[in-house]
């Protein structure tokens, strides 16, 4: 069972307690949202990398050297 650590700043007392059902549900919803958002962001990263590689290949085909492409 997952737990949470709570620090009461007024007393300095730290307690570790099990998550409530609502908190467990919240975490499951967060995990689902995370998976969706992560997939979208991974796709964006992959698309940007692919576009960069494509652009570099086209520049190389035009005769630019690796150093010249890197200098852009």
């Amino acid at each position: 069972m997952a737990t949470k650590i709570i620090v009461d700043c007024s007393t300095g007392v730290t307690t570790e307690v099990e998550l409530t059902a609502a908190e467990i549900a919240e975490r499951e919803a967060m995990a689902a949202e995370y998976a969706t958002q992560k997939a979208a962001e991974d796709a964006a990263v992959a698309a940007k990398a692919a576009a960069k590689a494509s652009a570099e290949a086209k520049l190389a085909a035009l005769g630019l050297s690796t150093d010249e492409i890197a200098a852009l």
């Binding site: 997952a2 709570i6 620090v7 700043c9 919240e26 975490r27 967060m30 962001e41």
Partner: protein, 166 residues
């Protein structure tokens, strides 16, 4: 560093890990708050989330994210506020970051910023800077950090500082 920079409380995660690290009953006697953290995820997933006063609603923000191959910008709510290393990164390494909240006791909406990084002895490592806004007139009395589905690893820490006359 301001001379009135004072430690309010701290937490260190024990051997069982923890889903949340939470500070409650935050004193209302400072002008700003600074939460400095070091963390690692026990499983997959790189991001942590945030809530104030038990609420993860009314958060908006913009994050800049870099991974060693590129730089990206995304909108944000209360989720995915920053990064910590996951279990596939170099063993026993912890990321770190800082959450800064000015004027946390005021009645205006609360702006905040977070910087965070992972640690990884490999090509890919992450760094983020986030500009966030919690649209609420309530003073911030509690702060909670959590990781989606997984847990903070043992020895993850968070230190909450109060700053006066910042």
């Amino acid at each position: 560093m301001a001379t009135t920079y004072k430690l309010i409380s701290s937490v260190t995660v024990g051997s069982g890990g923890a889903a949340y690290m939470e500070f409650t009953s935050i004193p209302q006697t400072y002008t700003d708050l600074n939460l400095v953290f070091s963390g690692r995820n026990t499983s997959s997933g790189d991001w942590f989330s945030l809530s104030f006063n038990g609420s993860s609603s009314n958060f908006t923000g913009r994050i800049i994210f870099a991974n060693g191959a590129g730089v990206y910008s995304y909108t944000r709510n209360a989720d995915e506020q920053g990064v910590i290393p996951n279990s596939s990164t170099t063993a026993n390494t912890f990321g770190n970051g800082s959450l800064y909240i000015p004027n946390y006791t005021g009645s205006s909406n609360k702006s905040y910023s977070i910087d965070s990084i992972t640690e990884n002895n490999a090509t890919t490592a992450y760094m983020t800077i986030l500009a966030g806004l919690w649209s609420s007139s309530a003073a911030i009395t509690s702060i909670r950090m959590t990781i989606s589905a997984n847990t903070f690893a043992q020895y993850s820490t968070a230190y909450l500082y109060g700053i006066s006359n910042a």
